[in-house]
């Protein structure tokens, strides 16, 4: 990869341990402490969309301005990402990975 900054060791362990503890507390919350208490409906409704709210926002800059091309838009990566999205929507996890990587390699072979 071109010019990827290395992750600081201290920061890595801080994040990993804090994330581990935080994730554990989320998992433990109701089962361990809150018992059968019911979450309010408005909160449950918002939680349902966390995944589709965070992940596309995270992935968009990676597709539009890839680090591997020093931030230059790359039509091949864009096309492969759209193919992956379609494959994932239609056929599920495995096909996203297969079609995403496969189509990028095919496109790079054909046009690169």
């Amino acid at each position: 990869m071109i010019d990827t900054p290395t992750i600081d060791t201290g920061t890595f362990w801080l994040v990993t341990i804090a994330l581990g503890i935080g994730t554990y507390l989320i998992r433990f919350s109701f089962l361990g402490l809150l018992g059968g208490r019911q979450l309010p409906d408005w909160l449950l409704v918002h939680l349902r969309y966390v995944g589709v709210a965070v992940l596309p926002a995270l992935v968009t800059p990676m597709i539009l301005w890839p680090a591997a091309t020093a931030g230059q838009f790359d039509p091949l990566r864009m096309t492969a990402a759209l193919i992956a999205l379609l494959a994932g929507w239609r056929f599920g996890v495995i096909w996203t990975i297969v079609m995403g990587m496969g189509s990028l390699w095919a496109l790079q072979y054909a046009f690169g």
């Binding site: 990993t16 919350s29 109701f30 089962l31 939680l47 589709v52 965070v54």
Partner: protein, 242 residues
């Protein structure tokens, strides 16, 4: 209380979760590969998988760390991704809430999407199952999902170093994220939320410390919820008109 007091239920859980191995293996191997590529050593990669055991949050944290985002943004975004597990935790209470505290502490640690989904589906369908059978079943699910998760993270980390740059291993990161959210786009609110997320990510991309991500995610979550509320109101009106 023993982890496996009922071997029959244990094996049934293991068998019922076995199909997910096809997803867990490439996914954890990808994580191992991508994390090594990002400059982490094998101990760090495996430790992260063992401490966090949550693929999407691990990928999220990793890519934000690489972007040199501030620690609180990294944690906020990755914990938000894991908030869904609060729902899993709540949904498991009626089934295994009566287990001992030590048992519940252990069961919380290995609570992941697949073990949760399969065991709750089974418990709902078989209310006659005893607490011990349910616990054994749960750990059957855990064995077949979590053990490959650790092992394949390690294998991915070791073998990933052999992959040449010409194969664009960097692209595996967005592909993994797409693999997580694309199958979720099953209803209008989910699609709207994802659309808002993408547009807002571009609009707020200039906001410092990757805070644009938090803004985009919040807006998208609200958009999804509002569409769902709107759908409910519409359904209620249709019901009233009848």
């Amino acid at each position: 209380m023993k982890l496996v007091s009922n071997p029959r239920a244990y094996w049934q859980g293991l068998r019922d979760c076995a199909p997910f191995v096809v997803i867990v293996v490439p996914f954890s191997a990808m994580f191992g590969m991508v994390a090594t590529d990002a400059g982490l050593n094998i101990l760090q990669v495996v430790a992260m998988s063992a401490i966090v055991i949550a693929g999407s949050a691990q990928f999220t944290a990793l890519s934000l760390l690489q972007d040199e985002a501030p620690v609180f943004v990294v944690l906020l975004a990755s914990l938000a991704v894991n908030m869904r597990m609060a729902m899993y935790s709540a949904a498991l209470v009626p089934h295994i809430g009566a287990a001992s505290m030590r048992m519940r502490m252990l069961m919380a640690y290995v609570m992941v999407d697949q073990t949760f989904a399969v065991s709750v589906r089974t418990f709902d369908a078989a209310p006659q199952m005893s607490l011990n059978e349910k616990i054994s079943y749960y750990f059957g699910c855990v064995t077949i999902v979590c053990v490959p998760w650790y092992v394949c993270t390690y294998l991915g980390a070791v073998l990933g170093q052999l992959i040449p740059t010409s194969l664009s291993p960097d692209f595996a990161v967005p592909v993994c994220f797409i693999a997580i959210f694309a199958p979720m786009l099953r209803s209008l609110p989910h699609i709207v939320a994802a659309g808002v997320s993408i547009v807002a990510a571009v609009v707020f991309s200039g906001v410092p410390w990757n805070f644009g991500l938090i803004i985009a995610a919040t807006l998208a979550m609200m958009a999804g919820a509002q569409v769902e509320f709107w759908q409910r109101r519409r359904a209620a009106r249709a019901e009233g008109a009848r």
